[in-house]
Amino acid sequence: MASKPAGRRRLEVEDIGDIAVVNFVDKKILDEQNISMIGEDLFRLVDELGRRKILLNFGNVDFMSSAALGKLITLHRKLQAVQGKLVLCKIAKDILDVFKITKLDKILVISPDEQSGLQSFS
């Protein structure tokens, strides 16, 4: 089957070595229900699939609300708890401002592009 009829895919996960590189399918990360499902998918990578290095690529994302930030913090904490690491990369300038203004750039590792994001795990 080329595609699954049910359960819309929100994330694309690619393994590069032991790093799970995650791309967001949607351009906008909005709506509590949608954000909740994205959160579940991200947490599953750690809790069920045992991934310890996650690189979130925001290259496709042009808008997100503060509700999504909570999920990123939870993911960061989950990975910290198992000696893993979360890195964010390719964040559009306006969205990056949201991270800077809320000072989340102080607790989350943010790289300009995917290549430098991958390198920040080594």
Partner: protein, 142 residues
């Protein structure tokens, strides 16, 4: 009101899908008035946070409660007033999310972001009415 002004008074139910339609309508008005991408992002973000606050925290998603939105877009500024039917709140009671002890909290950044991204923000009445303004940033290239 000048011919370049777009104004509307809208009443929506406590439904985030309805809020999304209203946001698209306002985004189109901003684009038609040549706001920069940066200004549009700022207004969209503040609008998202304020409408979610009104629908979720104010009206508690109650389908019998409404949110009233009045907005004006001119070539100089964007003004909006959002009124919900909730009990209101005191914005000064909302903790600063950038303090070290609050940095890792999962929520509570909406009110702070609205203040940072808009030119002026004021709460009225019991705190169930918010007015926000954004002065258009610089001249357009056109």
């Amino acid at each position: 009101m000048g011919s370049n002004a777009i104004a509307a008074d809208v009443e929506i139910p406590s439904d985030l899908a309805e809020a999304r339609l209203l946001q698209s309508q306002i985004e189109e008005a901003l684009q038609a008035t040549s706001y920069t991408e940066h200004d549009i992002f700022s207004i969209k973000l503040a609008l998202e946070e304020a409408l979610v606050n009104a629908i979720k925290h104010g009206n508690q998603m109650d389908p019998d409660k409404r949110v009233v939105v009045n907005y004006t877009v001119t070539p100089e500024r964007f003004d909006i007033r959002i009124t919900d039917e909730g009990p209101g709140f005191n914005p000064e009671d909302v903790p600063d999310p950038t303090l070290p002890e609050n940095l890792e909290r999962g929520s509570g950044r909406g009110v702070f972001l609205i203040r940072e991204f808009m030119s002026d923000v004021q709460y009225h009445g019991r705190g169930n009415i918010v007015t926000m303004s954004k002065l258009k940033n610089g001249a357009s290239e056109a």
